[in-house]
Symmetry: D2
Subunit: 350 residues, 4 copies
Amino acid sequence: MAGNSFGEIFRVTTFGESHGEGLGAVIDGCPSRIGLAPEDFVRDMARRRPGRYSFDTPRKEEDRVEILSGVFTGLTTGTPITLFIRNKDVDSRPYEILRQLFRPGHGDYTYFKKYGHFDFRGAGRYSARETAARVAAGVVAGKILEPLGVKVAAYTIELGAIRVRTINMDLVEKDPFYCPDAVASERMDEAISKARKEDDSLGGIAEVRVTNCPAGLGEPVFDKLDADLARAVMSVGAVKGVEIGAGFEAARLKGSENNDPITPDGFKTNRAGGILGGISNGDEIILRAAVKPIPSIGREQDTVDRQGRAAKMKLTGRFDVSAVPRIIPVLEAMVKIVLADHYLRSKAMV
Amino acid sequence: MAGNSFGEIFRVTTFGESHGEGLGAVIDGCPSRIGLAPEDFVRDMARRRPGRYSFDTPRKEEDRVEILSGVFTGLTTGTPITLFIRNKDVDSRPYEILRQLFRPGHGDYTYFKKYGHFDFRGAGRYSARETAARVAAGVVAGKILEPLGVKVAAYTIELGAIRVRTINMDLVEKDPFYCPDAVASERMDEAISKARKEDDSLGGIAEVRVTNCPAGLGEPVFDKLDADLARAVMSVGAVKGVEIGAGFEAARLKGSENNDPITPDGFKTNRAGGILGGISNGDEIILRAAVKPIPSIGREQDTVDRQGRAAKMKLTGRFDVSAVPRIIPVLEAMVKIVLADHYLRSKAMV
Amino acid sequence: MAGNSFGEIFRVTTFGESHGEGLGAVIDGCPSRIGLAPEDFVRDMARRRPGRYSFDTPRKEEDRVEILSGVFTGLTTGTPITLFIRNKDVDSRPYEILRQLFRPGHGDYTYFKKYGHFDFRGAGRYSARETAARVAAGVVAGKILEPLGVKVAAYTIELGAIRVRTINMDLVEKDPFYCPDAVASERMDEAISKARKEDDSLGGIAEVRVTNCPAGLGEPVFDKLDADLARAVMSVGAVKGVEIGAGFEAARLKGSENNDPITPDGFKTNRAGGILGGISNGDEIILRAAVKPIPSIGREQDTVDRQGRAAKMKLTGRFDVSAVPRIIPVLEAMVKIVLADHYLRSKAMV
Amino acid sequence: MAGNSFGEIFRVTTFGESHGEGLGAVIDGCPSRIGLAPEDFVRDMARRRPGRYSFDTPRKEEDRVEILSGVFTGLTTGTPITLFIRNKDVDSRPYEILRQLFRPGHGDYTYFKKYGHFDFRGAGRYSARETAARVAAGVVAGKILEPLGVKVAAYTIELGAIRVRTINMDLVEKDPFYCPDAVASERMDEAISKARKEDDSLGGIAEVRVTNCPAGLGEPVFDKLDADLARAVMSVGAVKGVEIGAGFEAARLKGSENNDPITPDGFKTNRAGGILGGISNGDEIILRAAVKPIPSIGREQDTVDRQGRAAKMKLTGRFDVSAVPRIIPVLEAMVKIVLADHYLRSKAMV
């Protein structure tokens, strides 16, 4: 009810703050006898870590996942799995300014209004670092999807207004921006460099593609698969828009163009993005998320203090230029969590 | 869990099928002593009804809302409010074809895959008519928001690729498309006529604007206000995309452009769309929904039958050309339901 | 959240008041393709009806269950099933006294304190009549348990301090008190007659026995099967105590007496009542519910009015002498709902 | 859904195993700005610890509560509070026997049936030690109730069939059995000694009394306050029965005896146990829990192995003779959690 849980059967509750003891997730509703070990988290935690591209924030985050409960002799027990990522490297001094001033574009203002006080060190609960717990939970969700052959892959299709022209999935994991187009990737790199020099930041668009998703996932009428995916993706800090399949483009198509003809071999096109009537149709699920530019920039900005008085604010420190590459594994995690949950829900009803 | 409920405290459960006995909603969690009468529903039910624009579907729907429980001497009692809209005019013969064939772009295929059978008369549970129950529930949500001064208004900003150039809110209620731009409205009318002649359908984009929303609504980290709005809006049948504030445009802005400076008089701009860190900031909430063209068209389309064999399908009858005008009160209702729920949630935590 | 729903997957929401339009239940989460027709409800609704024993209340309740949604061609569709029981015979005049005075032992006082006003006609929402919706929902739950061979049977083991000495299940359905002991039943009949002459009412104890329940139902640590059964049974108006297996008697046993030895053929005894660690062990589930005497009696009682002033109150009309026989099908229904829900939950986790 | 969470607004999720890393609770839905420090937990954790009475189990449990999240500068932030109690002293060798054999009266058998394997070290998730997390969460619930003046006190009214004759609340905290009757306490001590010599264990009955509870807590019709209390109390491992107010005794009273007359100064008697129609009436809430004898005894018992073959089993080690004294703070904690949750729920509806 207080909002820190997601999922009905595969239920993830995250907790923790950026500069507190650490971050974690409790997963209630994971079936028993699934192999799970700390090593399983290493790859995705590393993919989320900064430092993939040259000018990235130099903070070193060691995101080692401890399993505090729910696993016995290497197998899940069906009881709550607790994952914990202890915080290191917690210099909170750069955040002292938040004791008085609200950063434009951040949750400082609304947390203060809502709660009367907040853990401003590293943005506390609304820090991008909170997504580390999501990525960890996504690894467990992935274990449920794996035997079904379901694959979830996210990649960058736009960064700093540079759009990919081709999609070569083989490039994604090696690319610093998870970009499937080598030419676009180079231009993105230039855009990042330029923005950094200008003390500015960039937004972008990520696409998520799910292959081998079985038909029949999703529940009418409010827990439609697309509705739950939209909630999951929009709940990630920097996301300002979500679309499924043809998305906003569908608004400009005619019915005769937008309908996907059905053939004995499946759907001829996939404007629906793999979901019809809120239920997966067996085709690829495709969604896109609009990611706003990171609000932390080194330029002077107008703001107010806690008493509502006008103030100027200039953040110091080194910031990411864009959330886009780091958000990729987070979006994958959220999509996996939604699918694992809906898969388990579908089993209850057979 | 099975998906037909929405909201945590103000909890709406809808039920019913298009051509069954009727449609309805049970609202659990509405505070007591709020005035509520059948007349309160008349205006919004009428706004949802077809027939606003010339070529609209001629089916006459009488959407009279009966209050089956939860109101005594004209006041809510704090116990479940049941709203029921009895179906009339239920000629199900045009749907006999669905006994064998799946309509492209509809939920026929996925409902059959998921449930093994489904009420195909009038598309049963996934009929656009299901939204009548949402609109009815939205009226009750509106009663909770009213004393706060919160106003929710939706309108059409694009239809058939025709975009509004100006927004004059005074025009909206009188316009057949809920369009705030008289010039655009005329061109929309022409586009609708043309599409109808071509046995085709059109999509569009609706915008919702919430004024006077108090700061502090929304819960970290999964039940963010924008995440819940995204789910609510995406759960409406024809919606394929949702964006908040600058939305997808934010992906192309720089941080210095996208951040809304804060002044003693409020936010200087509103690219955030009234939500920061998932919590309302007191500014206007703005969201947009991409609406796909109605999949029911009079043209021949490729499909398969229940045995998976190729087939041609040509729907007869008269269909709406676009969901856009009729979806307007539905979007308003969903936004009201989200806000009423989050408002009550916020009260529990003070 | 507002308390009118029960169950996680098989989710029952009841609504309605005793003297309003009617009572009903929405069941979300019932699997598809289960045969369901209005006739299926007739037997249990009749069993709940007054008039089984001679001096019972002469009000004639016609409890015909209408299916308003969720069934197509005689089969459930997997979407919400709405059951509705329209009220008849609604002479509310005897309740006019409740406009001012609170009946001792009833919810009048607390409903007024909580909600500021309440539907006092026939006790509105907290009327015993509310259980009609539970019995109807229990019929649907029974349909899920039937193919598993699970049987749920309740019967009276004590009424007016008269305890059964033998349990002959063959007698139960024919007995006016659902009593499995013919001798005790006669004495119960005398006790009822005597109490009625004295304008008084009687309590009793009901036992519920579940046979063929599969092992493995129940979830640690809060949704234990016994915990959910306790909640379900205690939520029935007149129940003041619940015990499982040896129950309160277990408090007086030693471990060596209370432990049920395990053998290759099953448990040698069943003091656990079929549940260990909150999970069904495959043995019979046995629980008992203490039912208080009906608070409506024809004697003068001390009370206060809405302004808190002392008053005398004497109810007129004819009342049931005991809730015990009529509560039997209600307890069965609640136990069925709990088991159906936990059965579906267990399927999600396999 | 998987059962490890309790509460709707004040939502407690417990995790952890007896001999794993530790045990803990995540509390989502605690209001912000409530003072909370590790010291706050010391008293109740100590009260739950073994060693209050002479022959108690000599294991030394150090139950220091760490706050892993949700508190900043000594005040709750409104975000999830994570409490963690790291396990010490974890000699799991005595439990090796559980690799093959099921202990009568324990959850070994049902956990194995349900999950296929389980963490048998120290009984893992269904260990009595799990209640440490509940006690910790209860401390936070108590912080919400404190400003209202609500007091929750539990005490032993029966142990080894010895019933208290008087209730002197001043004795409770000093008494090794939380017993409010000094004479009975001595006899309980003898009974404990005797049972220990006989390698046996004892059950008992605990009573919980809530003073200053405001009227109006509890929600019709399934989340009645008594129903939620019954679930909460029955969810504690050893509890086999729950009763409110007159409880099972009410089954033997007449309406004229059981009804509590209402006067301008409140209720003349309190057979209702402070709850009418499922809603608190402002009077003291009184409930009792039947606690079975601890199933771990040093005598040889019949059981089967994992392959279903007959076996004899004799547990070694030192066991508690009775759960009763240690369960006292656990019952208090559960009642506090229920009340805190319903109090916050009631605030949402005003």
